[in-house]
Symmetry: C2
Subunit: 405 residues, 2 copies
């Protein structure tokens, strides 16, 4: 969905947060998950810089770790991020917030014992899992001591961390962008994204060894998330725990301009977003909904999101049914400017509707493949935007009707 | 969901649009549906009054019959309504509009030949079915001639009409309210309502023999739909064809005050809305989502609608899972005032969350029954509103993934 300067970047999916210089990571099984899978991850910045930026859920119901991490990020500086799966620590009240605080204190203490003087205010916390239950602190706190000792540089630590944050994910998601000038951006992500955010929150940690300041990080992160994670919309819901963090170590000693940083962070986020879509719960179709010809980009985005959230469109796509009438009905309720008689619709390049009316053969378009690119041209202006989404399948209903019980 | 003066009214579901004096109706198989089922309905007002009011879809993509009926209703007067299932005549362009016009002309001509001088401008047209295909006018026009000859008074004509407008409905929906003073309101409805509106549009025709003017009708209809059909929300979509009409014959010769008319029309609409919810496609749970304690009723309505449209809430309810964390996550994205720490949630009277935190035993609440009443108390004010909805089931996905093909 984005264009990168292929000559300047190389992107790898086998590397993640430890691809940039100056970062260590680990993932362990602390016993938070009953099934014994990895459930605790740590990303540690060795410096020399500790600038950081974050983007958080817009949900008014925010989990304790989100409230904590928003607070500590006011310093625009982070030494480390501790992440757990197996519990969201959301809707847990003051006691849940105290648990998050104790976790950060424990990480700071363990790092200080290990030889790196650290305060709790330098520790971000992320949690993911079922909403409403307290975390098993008797498992989590010993896990914190253990994971600090496990921290490793190199690629294996980053991969272990990517595994440890998985919930209903079937594969870990990592991406690393190497710039030819010698600096890097790495990242890991978990979650079915907006797919099932009330249980499977999107958590993303990005790292870079570029020499940049906190303002640059913040700009790059906001620009990238607006074009990538914010445009991944599987069921219209927004988690209580969504968190995207970007940490810089400056360890490459290479000063990087905003444009180059933007491009590298965008490339990493875009690839992670594509991986999230591909592994979304119950997905049988990977769908890009693109609206063109809107009066401006903002209206195009609203239109694309409205279509991407329409249950009738999504069930039709699950059935490989080129039911363009449902696309027309969906765009018609978007709060944007449109003239029904100017709308054109195409599936994978085959036009099925022109000037608001079906074209011959529209119902015969073959949508049996996995990838569907839907374009709705409003014919009004030059505004354009795209949303990544999925179909609405039996598997989605199955997974989400039997989660907490 | 509404209170009626039991002493003043009696409500029957075995009677419909011909329950009031002065109305005839019919339903026939004109061959529009390939399976030979009834597919053409007529409701005819014998007078002496012909006042009428209508409420139409807010979708910007409007079907030809909606554009036509909006136009003819500017006179606030209708002699008759012709309705077809088997095709929505939406997204069919100027040719489709010409088909609707020809249909109205044919009805006017047939009625004039039958002895009642009628103009096309006195004929409303409603269509429902698949979006995007032209109607088979070679079947529809001969059907118009036939149905005028079939028109019958009494209850059977109304019931035939109720059958003829069904698409994926499994039962016809009728309601009649008899006032002890001797006047009546009758109605029929079809469609899975907001459930599957792009294919199964909500059409409602209401009749009354009360002596009232067009202003009274319009007020009563708008007030009733705002509290009933507008609060039935199964998948958040809005059809291209939704139409609700109210015709008065004045045949009872009983002049009726606005309050009494409002109450009777509301009672009929409320009952029809309940029938639509109960017969919604793929429904396994009948759900009322009520928000209380909002700063005002409007915000309560936005909150209830946001929860009712949340796929994660709806799949949890399908699984009889009292997953209150998803309710909290859903209300948190509603664009309304709220304080997470004040929210209380209950299922069927059992409180599961208080002050934003789960209560002991919350996950053991039994939701295995068909009816679920969910109450979210925001604890801020006295605003309250309720939305009728359903769960999101395998059957919903099944029906809607295999419709047009």
């Amino acid at each position: 969905m984005t264009q990168t300067d292929e000559a300047a970047f190389r992107l790898w999916r086998t590397q993640g947060v430890t691809a940039p210089l100056g970062f260590r990571a680990a993932g362990i099984a602390a016993g938070i998950k009953a099934n014994g899978n990895l459930d605790l991850a740590l990303v540690f910045n060795e410096g020399p810089d500790y600038s950081a930026a974050g983007v958080f859920t817009t949900n008014k119901v925010k989990a304790a770790p989100v409230l904590w991490s928003q607070q500590v990020l006011q310093s625009r500086r982070l030494r480390t991020v501790i992440l757990n799966s197996g519990g969201a620590n959301a809707c847990t009240g003051p006691d849940g917030f105290a648990d998050t605080h104790r976790t950060a204190e424990a990480v700071a203490q363990a790092l200080s014992n290990w030889g790196t003087e650290t305060g709790a205010i330098e520790v971000a916390v992320c949690s993911t899992g079922l909403i409403g239950d307290r975390l098993p602190m008797d498992k989590l706190l010993p896990g914190v001591t253990e994971i600090v000792h496990e921290m490793a540089g190199g690629l294996s630590g980053g991969t272990d961390a990517a595994y440890a944050i998985m919930t209903t994910d079937t594969v870990p998601k990592q991406a690393a962008v190497h710039h030819r000038d010698g600096w890097n951006v790495g990242g890991m992500a978990k979650g079915a994204g907006m797919l099932a955010p009330a249980l499977a929150t999107m958590l993303v940690v990005l790292t870079t060894d570029a020499l940049v300041d906190a303002d640059q990080l913040d700009l790059a992160l906001r620009r990238a998330t607006a074009k990538t994670f914010d445009r991944l919309d599987v069921d219209g819901a927004t988690s209580t725990n969504d968190t995207v963090l970007l940490l810089s170590s400056g360890a490459s000693q290479i000063r990087v301009e905003q444009d180059d940083l933007d491009a590298a962070v965008l490339a990493a986020c875009d690839d992670l977003a594509a991986q999230l879509m591909a592994d979304a719960e119950g997905v049988t179709k990977r769908v890009v909904v693109e609206v063109t010809g809107a009066v401006d980009d903002d209206q195009a985005l609203v239109g694309a999101r409205t279509i991407a959230r329409d249950s009738l469109v999504k069930t039709a796509l699950f059935g490989s049914d080129p039911n363009w009438g449902r696309i027309m009905a969906a765009i018609g309720i978007a709060p944007i400017d449109l003239d029904p008689d100017r709308i054109a619709v195409s599936f994978n390049g085959a036009q099925v509707c022109r000037n608001g009316v079906g074209v011959p053969g529209a119902r015969e378009v073959d949508l049996s493949g996995t990838d569907i690119h839907l374009v709705v041209d409003l014919g009004l202006g030059v505004g354009t935007a795209a949303i990544r989404t999925t179909d609405l399948s039996h598997a989605y209903v199955e997974e989400n009707s039997a989660y907490s019980s």
